[in-house]
């Protein structure tokens, strides 16, 4: 990693308020984190889009457009199925909804709105909504690094006695949810 692009530490926590102009702050942090983990350009864009949609949903539906409300985005690099993964947890203090009722709409029904949840579920490998106590919602999403695009430097270190594939051990935390 060059001095021009310092390696972000994980976890990173981005705290913004619910002004729509702040979406770009979250997007920039997600782009940097995804690149750092080693996702290719296509996945980096898709992940940023999914998180953008999640924050948009918080602002538009959770807070119903009210500005000045808190949103926290935590970015973690974790191990999942033996490969690094980006885990993003979005917390708010917005109105609560039953997580089982949150689903993408039928895409055959062409109309404005309702596409965000579909995009999140299409792009991310794990999507988990939950209610926070005493208030607000939490969305945890995770995207695994495609094995074919894992940079050598991020491959898990082989066990003792096995041939090394070179590089250093991944900076990611051990497997967790």
């Amino acid at each position: 990693m060059s001095a021009a692009s310092p390696e972000p530490d994980f976890p990173q926590v981005v705290r913004v308020t619910s002004e729509t102009a702040n979406i770009t702050i979250v997007r920039s942090a997600v782009l940097a984190a995804a690149k750092q983990i080693g996702f290719d350009e296509s996945d980096v864009s898709a992940i940023a889009l999914a998180i953008d949609e999640a924050v948009t949903n918080v602002i538009r539906h959770g807070y119903e457009g009210r500005a000045g409300q808190p949103i926290e985005v935590r970015l973690d690099c974790v191990q999942r199925d033996g490969v690094p993964a980006l885990q993003v947890t979005i917390c708010d203090c917005a109105r609560q909804v039953d997580p089982t009722t949150i689903s993408g709409r039928n895409l055959e029904d062409i109309r404005p709105g309702g596409l965000g949840t579909h995009i999140i579920r299409t792009v991310m490998d794990e999507v988990e909504y939950s209610m926070r106590q005493p208030m607000g919602m939490q969305l945890r999403v995770l995207k695994k690094l495609n094995a074919s695009s894992v940079p050598v430097s991020r491959l898990p270190r082989p066990a003792a006695g096995q041939p090394s594939q070179g590089g250093t051990q991944t900076p990611c935390a051990k497997e967790s949810s």
Binding site: T24, R27, S42, S45, A46, L49, R60, L115
Partner: protein, 115 residues
């Protein structure tokens, strides 16, 4: 020709068509500006509206939603809506939402004007 600021780069007339060129990031923050300009274009009821996305770096579902609404408005008065200049990143959003088959999408503005 009308020069706009921010996400709406330009609105111009080409024969019976109106071309709206967008730029930058079409997200929840910028969608209201885009919506306002496109609705105004619809009210003139040109035979065709071409939305040039060549300079758009980023587009999310709120941007897509606006385009769907504009499509409905144009369709309602019997006009035609054509999109052009989508880069791979923007096109992928249409593909994820399965709207790449719903919209008429051309590679260039010239193709869109003659479509």
């Amino acid at each position: 020709m009308t020069e706009e600021s921010g996400t709406v780069k330009e609105v111009r007339h080409r024969g019976s068509a109106t071309v709206v060129a967008l730029a930058g990031e079409v997200d929840l923050h910028h969608t209201p500006e885009v919506h306002k300009v496109l609705v105004a274009a619809c009210q003139e009821q040109p035979r065709k509206i071409v939305i040039n996305l060549e300079a758009v770096r980023y587009l999310d579902s709120s941007g897509i939603g606006t385009l769907v609404e504009v499509f409905r408005r144009v369709n309602a008065y019997g006009g035609k809506l054509v999109l052009c200049g989508l880069n791979d990143r923007v096109l992928s959003v249409f593909e994820i939402t399965k709207l790449d088959k719903f919209f008429k999408i051309c590679g260039t503005e010239a193709e869109a004007l003659s479509a």
